[in-house]
Symmetry: C2
Subunit: 388 residues, 2 copies
């Protein structure tokens, strides 16, 4: 790998560390762009490995595997954050190109660092504190009352690594349960959420960026079930959300897609999470925007000019497909049913269905929010075998 551009007469090679559905959808976006994609997969049956002719098997925590992989790519990007940060730093130090780079990725991997840095920059975050011991929780609860939210400082997502603590006894039990692990905890104020919003920015290394329409994400049990684009909020709130997403993209030095999840509390926006890669809240863009988040991620990490983020319909709704059990998921039969739903686009990840696992999503385009939501929900139910 080298930081000089590839020769102009061959197609560039983008390496993706991790082979989940995000990598799979990047591969789909890479085909018409003539980009060769290589994936570093943990298992040959991973979602993206099923559709890639260039699969290497290796762990994202194995520095040697990462270095060897990077040596065969013009630029390396990521399917997820669970990557050896020191190894990425070493690759960059040796002249390799990793986008997003290690300094950006740290914001997604280390939540305490993220909150501290954002707070210092004057960005609105929930009140928080490092919680090395129970005393820290108790002191925090004196200021904020109960409940409080405990988070693992690294590694959590989709509701994992996050606990709502009702009192000191629950806090004590949590600390006891993680005592023998290397989990470091932080504590945040419990926010009475009204809505959750998300804003995606695609940013080139030099700073040029495009911003996707602000969306509402509808969660159940900490997992995103539905995304509504554009978010049904006032233009003033949407503008503030866009502004926060764009400031965070610049502050983190993002390269590629950066997703900012926001809490809306009354009229106030608070930063929830940041993901420095394509994100579930942007899947609507595959069918719903002039350029999908996956195409713009590839363009951004290759430092190519970015595509338009214009919506192709007044309303776009994404509904995730969450696995029930294996027997309930008959891809062929479900698709046959689904395909009858006009204007609903299925996206399957090639995964076995397990309860709660994201096995795909659908996008519906429409004119009216409730009609479009109903159509997406019906298609999602048919595809996963839930009764409606």
């Amino acid at each position: 790998m080298t930081s000089t551009p590839p020769p102009a007469d061959r197609f560039p090679v983008v390496g993706i560390v991790g082979a989940g559905q995000l990598a799979r959808m990047m591969i789909q976006a890479a085909i018409p762009l003539g980009i060769e994609v290589r994936v570093l997969a943990e298992h040959s049956g991973d979602s993206a490995a099923l559709v890639s002719p260039h699969v290497e098997i290796g762990s994202p925590n194995d520095a040697d595997a990462l270095r060897n992989f990077a040596s065969r790519c013009d630029v390396v990007t990521l399917d997820h954050e669970l990557v050896n940060l020191d190894a990425l730093v070493a690759i960059e130090a040796a002249g390799g190109v990793v986008r997003p780079g290690a300094t950006t990725l740290r914001f997604a991997k280390d939540k305490l660092y993220q909150r501290s840095t954002f707070q210092r920059a004057g960005l609105p975050v929930p009140d928080f504190v490092d919680a090395p011991d129970l005393d820290a929780v108790e002191a925090f609860s004196v200021r904020h009352g109960w409940p409080v939210v405990a988070k693992s400082q690294t590694g959590g997502y989709d509701g994992r690594g996050m606990w709502v603590l009702g009192d000191l006894d629950e806090a004590r039990a949590l600390f006891a349960s993680v005592a023998d692990s290397d989990v470091a905890l932080m504590i945040e104020q419990f926010v009475p959420i009204e809505r959750e919003l998300a804003v995606l920015v695609a940013r080139r290394p030099g700073g040029e960026f495009v911003t996707y329409p602000v969306v509402e994400t509808v969660q159940r049990d900490g997992i995103c079930h539905e995304v509504i684009a554009p978010a049904p909020v006032s233009e003033e709130i949407a503008a503030r959300a866009r502004d926060l997403g764009e400031r965070i993209a610049a502050l983190t030095g993002a390269a590629g897609i950066i997703a900012t999840e926001l809490f809306l509390v009354g009229d106030e926006l608070l930063i929830n999470e940041v993901a420095t890669r394509p994100h579930n809240s942007g899947h609507f863009s595959i069918d719903g925007c002039a350029t999908s988040q996956f195409a713009n991620h590839l363009r951004a990490v290759l430092d190519w000019p970015l595509g338009s983020t214009d919506l192709l319909a007044p309303v776009v709704v994404m509904a995730n497909l969450l696995g029930e059990d294996r027997a309930s998921m008959g891809p062929r039969m479900r698709l046959a049913l689904l395909a009858a739903a006009p204007g609903v686009h299925p996206h399957l990840y090639g995964k076995d269905a397990r309860p709660g696992r994201k096995i795909g999503h659908v996008n519906a385009l429409g004119e009216d929010i409730e009609e479009t939501r109903a159509r997406a929900a019906l298609a999602a139910a048919r595809l996963t075998g839930r009764s409606v």
Copy 2:
């Protein structure tokens, strides 16, 4: 291979014979549908082989290779017509599923059979005659005058296997040049073409079908350069074109996409060619329609319900990228330039540029025909390195 459906708890396997750009774009469409695609490629560097993890190397004329390939697929479909018809008949006789089947494919492979059958069915075709010898040409010219059009009865496309003969001397020279080959010729009247139109139908084996908007195809030197959707013709002519496409889909027993190319002469429509597969005239549908021709082809050959063919913009223009020379084609630099063109979607086939070779296409969505054509043409010129 068996004609019983695949088990409901695994994803179906579609085999494609041939690995050109049509197979490549089918692979792109198969990813979100969770369909596993296998390709039978002649060379490992073929357009679709570059993006498929399931490539077998073999000739479409090798009956053993076809049979072995088919045994690993739930259904077999085709990237092109240059396939051993007898081998397909044998696979079908053994219970295999080939879509389109041999009886449909014969219409694309054997132009004399196609013309005769269409004529008997009362469909409008140019006057034609089998031309086993020069006497047949002379007799035809007495009825129609010169020039006449000579065609190879099999194997021709994109202006190859087609000759405009100005007089008997030219006809004599052509017969002499093919005397030692197995080329069989037919002769047709020379049609003073006003416009060329095309209509694509996606048809399921049981007869259900959807029809794409009728398009105008703009040819130069017998090669399609540009497609305009919808065709700028009266609704009455468009309706007659749709009707012809749908009658031909039924008559040929099509399964998957069937494309009918039409001549518009004054107010009259005449059938030019038929392709029993996805077709260059339908590439606009990838970005321009609710469901692309490639997604509907896969749905149709799997006998799944078909998707909407609605246009996503008032005007969609496709421009082919025709290679100049290798040095002029710098994918990375060209794309960087192209990407700056708003609302133009590049589709590259991963091919080396050779003069006249189709190496990709672009789709532009817009409101106004001339503005959209200009934008597509500019992007195509930038990508191929032509001066504008």
